[in-house]
């Protein structure tokens, strides 16, 4: 497929090294790497392995202590982002850098607008972008306002922006993290098409299946070093995962068998309006969650999952229907009452709902139970108890880089989630609501979360697991239901369904 | 952490700067000289910063006069918003001045504190709109309708178009006391004249709006406009100058603000009443209740009475030549008002009088 020619590589890194003296971290240790013309290289690795530092060296955000960067065989010095762009590098960040009220053409040509009689020539801009889109196979209407476009199309605008700046090497940072599965498939096709035009692509990701689909070569990084450089098809997912984490990973969490026990959480006839972000609300949703059970809720995001979890957690009023725990009605209860009844909530948005990033770890750890006897006497928070709890949480859950009194905002996503889970599971809950508990986490952290949820199930909890990752649902759940347009389909016993069948239900709301 | 700190620093810095400026602006009035331990002290609480060009500045002038004439000491406190006033009055009471002079404050706050502190004397140099006063409060009611009558008489005598107007800061009884006295005076001099008011929405410090209002009156054929609108009145003078027409000033002697254009000013001597209050309290002659003061006491009147000859000297010959004769007429009318042979409509205190009905005020 790819055009790998005999000319000099598009990008060559020779012995790059970056040491951060203040923290004593060797972020990039002697990395050498080549990307050929027209080649797609996937760069994979756990969070914190130096991938981003490496890219920051390329874009002049940091400057290497040692080593050389060569572009088309020519050594270059990159002082800042503009140097990088001038050298034909283009970066597409996870967070798009677009002007929402501008059209596609105005965004793509921002900073290099065509002019006619001193004024911006919009018609010419649209002609140019249409031509570029046609050349590169990235179909798009240049006159649409970016704010009106779906995420996948906005990403295309970002790519076009880089291409309009004559990028010959495109770096895509976690490009599929924000995309729907079908958009992700389209992206893979687009990347292959770009490679076919002679452009090189570096594809940063930790989703192994898509990496296998898109890349000519896969480069694995761990602890600032390149630990693997494999041609496509030469490594299985399991082997890649092993390279990334340096130890065996349970890609499928162990589901300790054991019959589900007594009914815990019962939801019946639940009806709720949609979220502000445009969910689909709830339409007559009912199910029973038992002890020693994981009930997986599959489905494409925005089909009512958030509404369901929030309704149970007391964060959202129901228009109709009942919620009860062990026969005690909880409908319309405050979040505090729901918690004290024994329902723990691992919120989907750990940055804003799950944690207060500006507060210390110990404050966060005690935030959902500060009135309980675990942390206070006579209404006064006892800081000693709280400190000891936080210290234990850090040790038990291996929260790296944390101290009880430092704010948690500086921690990585995986470590933040460990704090949330440690806090939520510490109060011996009866039911755990886990909404997208592994979204955005690296492989090692995902494994940790899965083990924690399995342990909760073993201890007798009922776990309601909402996830967009079908593999996660299949790996952990005893029973599986699908949310589609606000309705709950199922639950099915784990052994009644497989990927294909669930996929059909997720897509259509019913089986063929 | 750094952001919230910076916000605080910015706020504190801005507040400090504002404070420095604010303090300095009143500093000249409060810079007391001799701190004789036994000296009689006063405190002046104003509902705004100095520089209003109206009763606040006038009251401050009264305290300055008292300091130099009577040897008293004291300070000026500003309480810009009504919500602050009660607190400011209380904290002032705590310093035990000989008298608290309080022009234009919220009457409820003032009387509440006055009732709680019967030993503290309070003086209101001009107009407090309540029915009853506690034993420790003395309030002046200045009869501006009488002096406005005289101003109106001047306007009615000098108008060539037989149309005169008035620009007033707001439509309320306090300002209508000026207007209906003025109107009655105009009609006394010129029975077939029309008198048109123009109100400014409470804009007392917006000369641009005063200018437009006056312009509208001049364009409508009025040739003399009475400006009862604080600093906005300056805009009336500008419009008069630009249009070659005339104006009448208010409160203090504004004749020289636009020489030759301002014919005369209708005086409301808050400086005098402020001085009187401090003097009475110092000499143990304080009497509670309302004190009506006007032409007879020299507290209201025309700038001409104080010797202003600006218009006579700089006005156009045709009008300026009429001033001496007119002044004699006005002096005569003033005497008749003091005698009681002329009753002037008082739109503030007695709006249902016959005199008011005669000038079209619906009591």
């Amino acid at each position: 497929m790819s055009i790998v020619s005999s000319e000099a590589p598009r990008l060559e890194l020779r012995g790059l090294r970056k040491y951060f003296p203040a923290s004593g971290v060797l972020a990039v240790a002697d990395v050498s790497l080549e990307v050929a013309v027209g080649e797609v290289v996937a760069l994979i690795g756990e969070n914190g392995t130096g991938k981003t530092t490496l890219m920051n060296l390329l874009f002049g955000v940091h400057h290497a202590d040692a080593g050389e960067i060569l572009i088309d065989g020519r050594p270059v010095v990159i002082r800042d982002q503009q140097d990088a762009i001038a050298n034909g590098l283009g970066m597409v960040h996870q967070h798009f850098e677009l002007v929402p009220s501008f059209t596609v053409a105005q965004n793509v040509l921002l900073g290099r607008e065509p002019r006619k009689r001193g004024l911006f020539d919009n018609a010419e801009a649209e002609r140019r972008v249409a031509r570029l889109a046609e050349e590169t196979g990235l179909a798009i209407d240049p006159s649409r306002r970016v704010a009106d476009l779906p995420i996948g199309t906005q990403q295309r605008v970002e790519i076009l922006k880089a291409l309009a700046a004559d990028a010959r090497l495109l770096i895509l940072d976690e490009p599929t993290a924000v995309l729907t599965p079908s958009e992700a498939d389209e992206l893979v096709a687009m990347v292959r098409a770009l490679a076919a035009t002679g452009r090189s692509v570096v594809f940063i990701s930790h989703k192994l299946p898509e990496v296998q689909a898109v890349a000519d070569r896969i480069v694995v990084m761990r602890k600032g070093r390149v630990v693997g450089d494999l041609r496509r098809g030469n490594a299985s997912d399991a082997e890649l995962a092993l390279l990334m984490v340096g130890r065996e990973v349970l890609l499928v969490a162990d589901r300790n068998e054991g019959a589900a026990g007594r009914p815990l959480l019962e939801v019946s006839g639940a009806v709720a309006p949609p979220t502000d972000e445009g969910g689909s609300g709830l339409r007559d949703v009912g199910f029973t969650l038992r002890s020693h059970e994981v009930l997986g809720i599959a489905g494409v995001s925005g089909n009512g999952q958030d509404e369901l979890i929030e309704a149970i957690a007391g964060l959202r009023p129901l228009d109709a229907g009942q919620v009860s725990l062990e026969g005690v009605g909880l409908t319309g209860s405050s979040p505090a009452r729901v918690r004290s009844a024994g329902i723990a909530h691992i919120a989907a948005d750990r940055m804003h709902v799950g944690l207060n990033l500006d507060a210390s770890l110990e404050e966060n750890a005690a935030s959902t139970a500060y009135r309980s006897r675990r942390f206070s006497r006579w209404g006064v928070v006892r800081k000693g108890l709280r400190r000891r709890f936080a210290e234990r949480l850090i040790a038990d859950y291996e929260v790296r880089g944390a101290s009880p009194t430092r704010t948690v905002g500086s921690l990585s996503g995986g470590n933040l989630q460990k704090i949330v889970i440690g806090r939520e599971l510490s109060g011996s809950p009866k039911v755990v609501l886990a909404n997208q508990p592994t979204r955005g986490l690296d492989v090692g952290s995902i494994e940790f979360v899965h083990r924690a949820l399995s342990a909760a199930r073993r201890d007798g909890c009922g776990v309601l697991l909402v996830s967009a990752e079908l593999d996660e649902i299949l790996a952990l759940s005893d029973r599986i239901a699908v949310m589609y347009n606000g309705e709950l389909i199922g639950p099915y016993d784990r052994f009644e369904v497989d990927r294909e069948r669930l996929g059909q239900i997720m897509a259509r709301g019913k089986e063929l | 952490m750094s952001r919230s700190r910076k916000v605080l620093v910015a706020a504190a810095a801005a507040a400090c700067l504002a404070l420095v400026a604010g303090c300095s602006s009143t500093g000249s009035a409060s810079s007391t000289s001799a701190t004789d331990a036994d000296a009689f002290t006063y405190a002046l609480i104003t509902p705004g910063a100095a520089g209003d060009g109206g009763f606040i500045d006038s009251a401050i002038a009264g305290t300055e006069l008292a300091e130099s004439e009577l040897g008293v000491t004291g300070r000026v406190v500003e309480a810009e918003s009504v919500s602050q006033q009660e607190g400011v009055i209380r904290s002032t009471v705590a310093t035990h001045p000989g008298i608290i002079v309080a022009p234009g404050l919220d009457p409820d706050s003032l009387l509440a504190v006055a009732n709680e502190n019967p030993d503290q004397l309070f003086g209101v140099p001009s107009d407090i709109f309540v029915d009853e006063l506690p034993e420790n409060v003395q309030a002046f009611a200045i009869n501006v309708h009488e002096s406005s009558y005289l101003g109106g008489y001047v306007a009615g005598s000098l108008s060539e178009t037989k149309k005169v107007g008035a620009v007033l800061g707001i439509d309320n009884p306090g300002l209508n006391q000026f207007f209906y006295g003025y109107k009655q005076g105009v009609l006394a001099a010129c029975p077939d004249c029309t008198v048109t008011p123009s109100y400014l929405n409470g804009e007392f410090s917006d000369p641009s709006v005063g200018q437009e209002a006056a312009l509208a009156l001049y364009q409508d054929g009025n040739d003399i406009v009475f400006a009862v609108a604080g600093l906005s009145g300056q805009g009336v003078f500008t419009a008069a100058t630009q249009e070659g027409k005339y104006a009448i000033g208010v409160d203090s002697d504004q004749d020289s603000d636009a020489p030759g254009t301002v014919i005369v000013s209708v005086m409301k001597r808050v400086d005098q009443t402020t001085y009187n209050l401090i003097e009475a309290a110092k000499n143990g002659e304080f009497e509670s209740g309302f004190v009506s003061a006007g032409l007879a006491d020299g507290v209201s009147g025309l700038s001409w009475d104080d010797g202003s000859t600006v218009f006579a000297d700089e006005g156009p010959e045709a009008l300026a030549s009429k001033v001496p004769a007119l002044k004699t007429e006005v002096d005569d009318l003033k005497q008749q008002i003091i005698d009681g042979s002329i009753e002037v409509c008082d739109a503030l205190n007695d709006p249902s009088s016959d005199a008011c009905a005669a000038v079209g005020l619906e009591g």
């Binding site: 960040h93 967070h95 004024l119 905002g409 | 917006d206 600093l231 500008t238």
Partner: protein, 342 residues
């Protein structure tokens, strides 16, 4: 008929200072700054304008000085912006400071207490030979000086500017500073120039009040025109095409409240017109939820940590980087975790 033309003529004059304030607010808003210091810029312009005009006995020099005074305040805001000071807090402080400072300076150095009225002829109106004698056009254009026409020209100039490359860049900087910076646009410099220009324009609006029409300065003479200008810019959705009618709503409402009294509309009714216009305008703006988003976004943009520090001078080491908020693209989380591998 004549009365109506006089009303329009008066409305144009009353609109002019509001128009300048509105243009200033629009430029700031488009550059991503919620500029609440317009009021102080107008007042400073009015004060410095008349002071310099009186000193130089030249109104044009006064107007230029007024623009300079406004620009200096704009510059001050831009530097504070660079230091990461909260502009909303600073602006409110500035409004109080300038008001008190003018009163203080008047008292201390100009002898006046509430009014400074130098010996100065205000800017004369422009007389168009021929036109001024015509029946309707003559009175309509009477008593309008060059600053009035400058206001109209400025609207056209700003509209054209927004269609130039630099204008597009200003809008991009205001709306998506990170996107603008990554496209190589000088975010800080663009904001600085926008604030300086807005200050100068607001200053000229102030000069119109003092030098332009009255030839005197009074305490707080800006009379909330800065705030009205901000409201007008909001009502115009910060678009040049709507800025003139939006400012006109307030100017003509004020004129109507004065002029309607001449045809015996009761004062207690006419008093309500300006407030009523402001209220209706704000309700209209409120109904358009998109513009409310604009406002909240502006608020956020104007008071959030400066991206420049992240983009231009990235933290030299991860330990310090870890105290910065996340969200600066993708470079942060990776480094944070590095420390954990020890």
């Amino acid at each position: 008929m004549n009365a109506f033309v006089d009303f329009l003529n008066s409305g144009i004059r009353l609109t002019t200072p509001i128009l300048f304030a509105a243009i200033a607010s629009m430029i700031s808003a488009r550059a991503g700054v919620l500029n609440l210091a317009i009021e102080s810029k107008v007042l400073a312009g009015a004060f410095v304008g008349i002071l310099v005009a009186a000193g130089a006995q030249n109104t044009t020099v006064g107007v230029v000085a007024a623009a300079g005074a406004g620009a200096v305040i704009g510059l001050l805001l831009a530097f504070a912006d660079r230091l990461g000071v909260d502009l909303v807090v600073l602006a409110i402080g500035l409004n109080i400071l300038v008001l008190q400072l003018t009163v203080y300076l008047m008292r201390s150095y100009l002898g006046g207490v509430g009014t400074f009225s130098p010996d100065l002829d205000p800017i004369p109106p422009i007389v168009f030979p021929g036109l001024s004698e015509l029946p309707v056009v003559g009175p309509l254009l009477a008593r309008l000086n060059w600053i009035v026409y400058l206001g109209f020209v400025l609207v056209v100039l700003v509209a054209l500017f927004f269609r130039t490359r630099s204008g597009r860049h200003l809008i991009a900087v205001g709306e998506a500073p990170i996107a603008a910076a990554s496209a190589g646009l000088p975010v800080a410099r663009t904001r600085l120039w926008a604030l300086v220009a807005a200050g100068a324009i607001a200053g000229i609006g102030g000069a119109y009040l003092s030098v332009g029409d009255l030839g005197l300065f009074t305490r707080n003479m800006s009379g909330d025109r800065g705030w009205i200008g901000i409201t007008a810019a909001l009502l115009a959705l910060n678009r040049p095409a709507f800025i003139l009618p939006a400012a006109g709503v307030f100017g003509f409402a004020s004129a109507a409240s004065i002029r309607l009294q001449q045809i015996d509309v009761p004062a207690n009714l006419t008093q309500f017109i300006p407030q009523g216009a402001a209220f209706v305008a704000l309700v209209l703006v409120g109904i358009r939820s998109t513009s409310r988003d604009d406002l909240t976004r502006l608020w956020r943009n104007s008071s959030r940590l400066r991206l420049r520090k992240r983009l231009r001078n990235p933290p030299p080491d991860p330990a310090r980087a870890s105290s910065a908020p996340s969200g600066a693209g993708s470079q942060t989380p990776d480094e944070h975790d590095r420390t954990t591998h020890h």
